[in-house]
């Protein structure tokens, strides 16, 4: 008899727990970003002041991947409201109806923001670059371009690149002499793809592939690689926080934009707009750029920054000169095919 009671007790607890887990409970606004040094700065200049201004909120971090958001939204009872996404996640998720359509009149109007950061489903959060990073203490002679990156005679040592086709093929083409403006035109042809892989063949055995943004600074610091592709903000953070002496090459940098989106069906839409309005203000965005070297989306933000800081931002005119925007449409169309092609090449 007592056994039955125990079993029933278990069963009751189990059902109660599942019921609890699925009950949509009223919760505070939850904002999700990329973690690491970047989110530490966001906490300081965005999240804490926003909380202090009277709206309760939590922040979490994630590693990206629109599949994660699809699972959250389609699974119902999503625990996230505002998420920072990369450009492809923005396009794919917008197509699939994972995000709320954004009402710009609630966040200062479309004219407040740089045109390239305005999207039906999201508003730009940061502009950042993949740059060539190196350790000034180890390389006496500073590299100047991706061509130097592929020159292992003049600059001995291994090279770090992001694993996969995206960014790698663009870098290879620029190293092979393709002008930044023509990269996607060339990559759109079969001959262009072959040309990129042929260039990669020349340093195939010297490449260390990284997968997460935190890895390249570590690879540089441990001396594993002499040069690497890296997010510009990570180099800046390593120099500021860990007293490293890393250098960056803006020539041929690949820039891209991350955006804030509101997940479809969020119970905190009003608070989410309040938050987006807060982080869209130029004075707040300027504080972010002071904390970490990323450009921001508000047109007025750069005018509030000191010259010295402005010079190291992706949005500085000098740094934009030879930079290429990573072409989201191109990659949406070709990512599967070129990923397979890349892995074919890697396994050879």
């Amino acid at each position: 008899m007592s056994k039955i009671k125990v079993a029933l007790g278990f069963a009751a607890t189990f059902t109660a727990l599942t019921a609890l887990a699925s009950a949509a409970s009223a919760r505070d606004l939850t904002v999700v970003s990329w973690g690491g040094a970047y989110q530490d700065v966001q906490k300081k200049v965005y999240f804490e002041p926003f909380k202090a201004a009277g709206t309760p909120m939590n922040d979490e971090s994630w590693d990206g991947g629109v599949g994660v958001l699809r699972a959250k939204v389609q699974g119902g009872a999503s625990t996230w409201d505002v998420v920072q996404v990369e450009s492809e996640e923005l396009a794919l998720g917008c197509d699939e109806g994972l995000y709320e359509k954004l009402n710009f009149s609630k966040i200062g109007g479309e004219d407040t923001y740089l045109p390239s950061t305005v999207n039906a489903c999201g508003v730009g959060a940061i502009v950042y670059d993949f740059v060539l990073g190196y350790d000034k203490d180890k390389l006496k002679d500073a590299p100047k371009s991706w061509a130097d990156f592929f020159d292992t005679k003049k600059y001995p040592g291994k090279r770090g690149l992001r694993q996969g086709a995206k960014t790698t093929l663009e870098i290879a083409l620029m190293a092979d002499g393709v002008a930044p403006a023509d990269v996607y035109k060339v990559l759109g042809t079969d001959a262009g793809v072959e040309r990129a892989f042929k260039k990669l063949d020349t340093i195939k055995n010297d490449i260390v592939w990284w997968k997460a943004g935190a890895q390249p600074p570590q690879l540089l610091a441990s001396g594993e690689v002499a040069m690497t592709s890296v997010y510009n903000g990570r180099i800046d953070a390593a120099n500021k926080k860990e007293n490293k002496n890393f250098g960056m090459v803006w020539n041929g940098a690949l820039y891209t934009i991350d955006s804030w989106v509101i997940l479809k069906g969020s119970p905190n839409v009003d608070a989410a707009y309040k938050f987006l309005n807060f982080v869209g203000k130029p004075e707040n965005q300027a504080k972010l750029s002071e904390g970490i070297a990323y450009g921001t989306s508000n047109k007025k933000a750069p005018s509030l920054l000191p010259k010295a800081i402005l010079a190291d931002l992706p949005t500085a005119p000098d740094n934009m000169k030879s930079a290429v925007e990573i072409n989201t449409d191109f990659w949406l169309e070709n990512i599967d095919r070129l990923t397979e092609r890349f892995n074919k090449w890697a396994a050879k």
Binding site: A11, V68, D336, R337, E340, K344
Partner: protein
């Protein structure tokens, strides 16, 4: 008690026994019910869902219902008729207004690279429904691709409700415009290699674990309790340490300015640092270390039960040590070897984080691709198909193992 006994006296004993038996069974079922429910919802339902996703073809029928219906009458030769073009134009406009045209575009782009642009640019340029009879010319004027048979066979092949596309792609096959199964183009045929690589690494790690683990387990099983417990701690301590910590520790040890290379250079044995990580060697090293306890523990538990008397008997009957080991001791440990190998192998072929961190681009196993298609490009059909193939091959191997392990005589082939 007696009252109850007397009260039920009119019921035959047989039936009362049955009733008691049934009550017992129900009680037992009640005890395992929570676990059953848990397994059903967290294990069986998701796996069934995954397998369904690998054949589910929902995008095109949902976004382009009229076109799908119109193409049912098309025999696949030449171009479809005017009605199909008109239906396509109507579908594209409706989908554009509903904002889900890109969903179908993504699915069709798998079949014909460039279809995404064709469909989305048609959606942008097609302002109004073409006048009756002009749909064909209008569409071909907007995008020449609509004048090619390939575009239409692509839509027809993705018309659902189920498709073999993803499962075929997972084994490097595809269908041509005539619906015949052919090998995938050279550049895209990678999955057979990846599966082979996955099993190769799985077998390699299993073999290394067995070679390293067998003597350790033997030592643990045959030492006096005190010392064997001390050694057991050394086996269990890494076992309890986080996987990520152990993997990162290997990076520190093996990198070019790491401990191993530093020591070797200091000793003057090498001039240039050896490449020990971000390649296959690093993957074998880290994975063997991580999975070793899974080999040692089952071996140890079996070896504990092997009586030393057999070996003494063999020796007294004149068997040399090697013969005694091969014909008396080894056969008795077969269940442990089998369990350890199966455990290590099945864990190894599903590994993701270790090869991702210590392997190169050519050392990624199938789980890397499943994760890539699940989260990055949201090609859940292909991710599910790869998962289904992995599941199937694992089941086949487990069945084979069952046949091998159970079909063996534990006397090691000694004829009585």
């Amino acid at each position: 008690m007696t009252a109850a006994f007397v009260a039920g006296a009119d019921v035959p004993l047989k039936r009362r026994l049955k009733r008691a038996e049934r009550a017992r069974q129900l009680r037992a079922l009640g005890l395992v019910l929570p676990l059953l429910a848990f397994l059903l919802f967290t294990f069986i339902v998701p796996i069934a869902g995954m397998i369904w996703k690998s054949v589910d073809d929902w995008e095109v029928p949902q976004v382009m219902p009229q076109t799908v219906a119109a193409l049912e009458r098309w025999n696949g030769q030449g171009l479809p008729d005017e009605t199909a073009f008109a239906a396509l134009a109507a579908d594209i406009r409706a989908a554009r207004d509903a904002g889900n045209l890109a969903v179908a575009a993504k699915r069709l782009n798998y079949v014909v690279n460039g279809f995404r642009t064709t469909l989305l640019s048609t959606g942008r340029k097609l302002k109004e429904q073409p006048a009756p009879g002009t749909a064909k010319d209008t569409l071909i004027a907007i995008a020449p691709a609509w004048g090619e048979r390939e575009s239409w066979t692509a839509i027809k092949s993705a018309s659902g409700p189920v498709t073999s596309y993803y499962l075929l792609a997972a084994v490097d096959l595809t269908r041509n415009a005539d619906h015949a199964i052919v090998a995938a183009p050279q550049d895209q045929a990678i999955y057979r290699d990846v599966f082979l690589r996955t099993f190769e690494i799985g077998f390699g790690v299993t073999a290394l674990c067995l070679i390293l683990g067998f003597p350790v387990a033997y030592l643990l099983a045959n030492l006096p309790t005190g010392r064997s417990n001390l050694l057991m701690i050394f086996v269990l301590l890494p076992f309890w340490t986080s996987l990520l910590v152990r993997t990162c520790a290997w990076i520190v040890i093996l990198q070019s300015e790491g401990i191993v290379n530093g020591s070797l250079q200091w000793l003057g044995l090498i001039d240039e640092p050896l490449r020990l990580i971000y390649n296959r060697f690093g993957v074998y090293m880290a994975m063997t270390h991580v999975l070793l306890p899974f080999m040692i523990l089952p071996l140890y538990s079996v070896m504990r039960g092997v009586s030393p008397a057999y070996m003494r008997a063999a020796a007294s009957l004149g068997a040399p040590p090697v013969t005694a080991f091969l014909r008396i001791y080894l056969p008795q440990t077969i269940p442990g070897i089998g369990a350890g190998c199966l455990l290590v192998f099945i864990l190894a072929i599903g590994y993701y984080i270790t090869p991702a961190l210590v392997g190169g681009a050519a050392d990624q196993m199938i789980s890397y691709f499943i994760a890539f298609y699940t989260t990055e490009t949201v090609n859940w059909g292909l991710a599910s198909a790869l998962g289904a193939v992995l599941l199937l091959s694992t089941v086949v191997l487990a069945v084979l193992y069952g046949k091998l392990a159970l079909g063996r005589q534990t006397t090691g082939g000694l004829k009585n």
